[in-house]
């Protein structure tokens, strides 16, 4: 169901405003209003982050007197956590792609009788509540000494994206014509060479999409941060925000500044890598 749409989403180019009919301009206006309503909370977060410390909540509609105090506090409190999030998310991308890309290729190109079964297992895996995984991992990590480690968080966070990455990349790799793979095989390339130097370069777009989402999923992770870390040494920023919220919130501008900083990956990727995000959203709906 998601496979066909995956390829076509985002390919439609919208024309400029010039040459639009009156009716179309009305639609544009309605669209802008809908967007303003939907994205108001995001605007409000940015607005609140720029208010002087203290009574941020009574902020005006616009940051007429922008103050960076919230950001200064956020960076001094949470800068370390932001870097932790960055390391963990980058690690999760590598683990996730390293595991998912070969599997996606195999499920797309090799003929196995059990492929339907494997895909079913992947779909079901995505539906397992995170708390179930956290429950079991906590006990296992405790025995293995993996609590409060980067490795522990990275491999756990990869669970947010491995099934998704397999599905997205497989959908794409199914469209690689077997003849170009066979041509490489005839030239004497082994399975790994064929995969590495033919299939992977051809699938670049799908790999970027899967990688971006692996990053965003790990960056957004809250559950594993909450359950698999017990000290402040390795604390992703999502947990940092939660702890800001847990105590009576005294400094809203710092909370909101941290929230803005934690939103940057999503906002930046949506602006510069819109094509990949739109493509992934369709396959990612099975997140």
């Amino acid at each position: 169901m998601t496979t066909t749409a995956l390829i076509t989403v985002g390919s439609g180019r919208s024309r400029g405003l010039r040459g639009a009919s009156g009716k179309q301009l009305v639609y544009v206006a309605i669209g802008v209003v809908l967007l303003v309503v939907m994205l108001f909370p995001v605007y409000w977060m940015i607005n609140a982050s720029l208010q002087p410390s203290g009574n941020t909540l009574s902020a005006g509609l616009f940051p007429t007197n922008p103050s960076w105090a919230g950001y200064e506090k956020a960076i001094s409190d949470q800068g370390h956590n932001l870097i932790t999030s960055l390391i963990v998310s980058a690690g999760a991308v590598i683990v996730s792609l390293g595991i998912a890309a070969p599997a996606a290729y195999a499920l797309a190109q090799f003929r196995y009788r059990w492929i339907t079964g494997a895909l079913l297992a992947i779909l079901i895996a995505q539906m397992i509540p995170g708390i179930v995984i956290a429950n079991a991992l906590y006990a296992a990590y405790n025995d293995l000494g993996l609590l409060n480690t980067y490795v522990g968080l990275i491999v756990a966070d990869a669970s947010h994206s491995v099934p998704f990455a397999i599905i997205v990349m497989r959908a794409f790799m199914q469209n690689i014509h077997p003849s170009i793979l066979e041509a490489a095989r005839v030239d004497g390339a082994g399975q790994f060479r064929t995969f590495w130097s033919i299939a992977l370069p051809v699938s670049k777009n799908a790999i970027i999409t899967a990688g971006l989402f692996a990053f965003l999923f790990a960056w957004s992770d809250f559950l594993f941060a909450l359950t698999l870390t017990t000290t402040s040494d390795i604390r992703p920023v999502t947990l940092g925000i939660y702890q800001y919220l847990g105590t009576q919130v005294s400094n809203w501008s710092a909370v909101m500044a941290t929230a803005v900083l934690s939103s940057l990956p999503a906002i930046i990727l949506l602006l510069i890598a819109q094509k990949y995000i739109a493509a992934g959203a369709m396959g990612g709906s099975v997140k």
Binding site: Y27, G31, I131, V132, F222, L245, A259, S262, S263, S285
Partner: protein
């Protein structure tokens, strides 16, 4: 003789090739077994054991039969949590779906900038959920939150969104609807795009446009996608933790306790891992029912 000599090396090469091919799926298979298979089994065994913090020191987790399930189900919070789970899921789903379908239908119209607008609409879904919680907590603040200030313009008294047990569940549902709208728009928009234009053209010849076309062309053709959207919505809403923990932590006065929150708090606040596992298995059981419905509905197009 010739046949033998030719076939033997060939067969060996094929065998090595088979091993190479299998190596492609081995890492994923191991990973899925460890991070999805093992947790399910571990939760199942834990739920029949007296598994607490003590277990981590002594290594002992005596078998206790179904007593964890009895504890979970007879606990005073089980009934309310189950009811809240149902209300939270149903409320979120109805809101997300109706608004999502409306937006998807709107964006089906061809107008400039619609592609970029649709992309920007994804933002609430891409943000970390805890960011959404933090932002909405400030918006919903009773005394000086912008929502109450806005409502105040129309003479509405300040609503204690997050601090009153009567309003908290509605508040977390509103936030979860906001988070879930992009997901619904994306799926439903994709489904709408797949309906052939000719169907509408043929219908308009018969005089069916507007609402008539929606009822007789759009809805019937969208049925499969609607089913998938709703079932996935249920499965993903059942396991929501971040939104509720960030907004209310299950309070006030347990007004936003759900089965997922119960599972988390029993395991990681009370450190009763056995009972927590029992809660999460109940959650799995509920999800499983909907997962089966989902798999049935997605299977059909594959068979065709």
């Amino acid at each position: 003789m010739t046949a033998e000599t030719i076939r033997r090396p060939a067969r060996r090469r094929i065998r090595r090739d088979d091993v190479a091919k299998l190596l492609f799926v081995v890492p994923a298979a191991i990973y899925i077994l460890l991070f999805f298979g093992y947790p399910i089994v571990k939760n199942l065994t834990m739920s029949f054991q007296d598994y607490t913090t003590k277990t981590f020191f002594t290594g002992e987790a005596p078998w206790v039969g179904i007593s964890n399930y009895v504890t979970a189900i007879t606990s005073s919070l089980f009934g309310p949590a189950l009811l809240n789970t149902a209300l939270f899921t149903a409320g979120s789903l109805v809101g997300q779906f109706v608004i999502g379908l409306g937006l998807a239908l709107f964006f089906q119209k061809k107008f400039p900038l619609s592609t970029i607008m649709r992309a920007l609409l994804l933002l609430p879904w891409l943000l970390p959920l805890i960011v959404a919680s933090a932002t909405w907590r400030s918006i919903l603040d009773q005394d000086s939150g912008i929502l109450n200030r806005f409502l105040g313009v129309f003479g509405v008294d300040p609503v204690p969104w997050l601090s009153s047990p009567d309003h908290a569940l509605i508040a977390v549902i509103i936030v979860n609807i906001w988070v879930g709208i992009p997901f619904n728009v994306t799926l439903l928009y994709g489904g709408l795009q797949d309906i052939p234009e000719e169907l509408y053209e043929a219908a308009s010849l018969d005089g069916a446009t507007g609402w008539k076309a929606f009822w007789h062309i759009t809805l019937p053709n969208l049925r499969g996608v609607i089913g998938v959207t709703l079932v996935l919505g249920v499965v993903y809403t059942l396991k929501v933790l971040d939104v509720i923990l960030g907004l209310t932590g299950g309070g006030p006065a347990n007004a936003t306790q759900t089965i997922a929150i119960r599972s988390y708090q029993t395991s990681f606040v009370d450190f009763e891992f056995g009972v927590g596992a029992a809660f999460s298995n109940i959650l799995i059981l509920i999800s499983l029912v909907f997962a089966i419905v989902y798999l049935r509905s997605t299977r059909k197009p594959v068979d065709e």
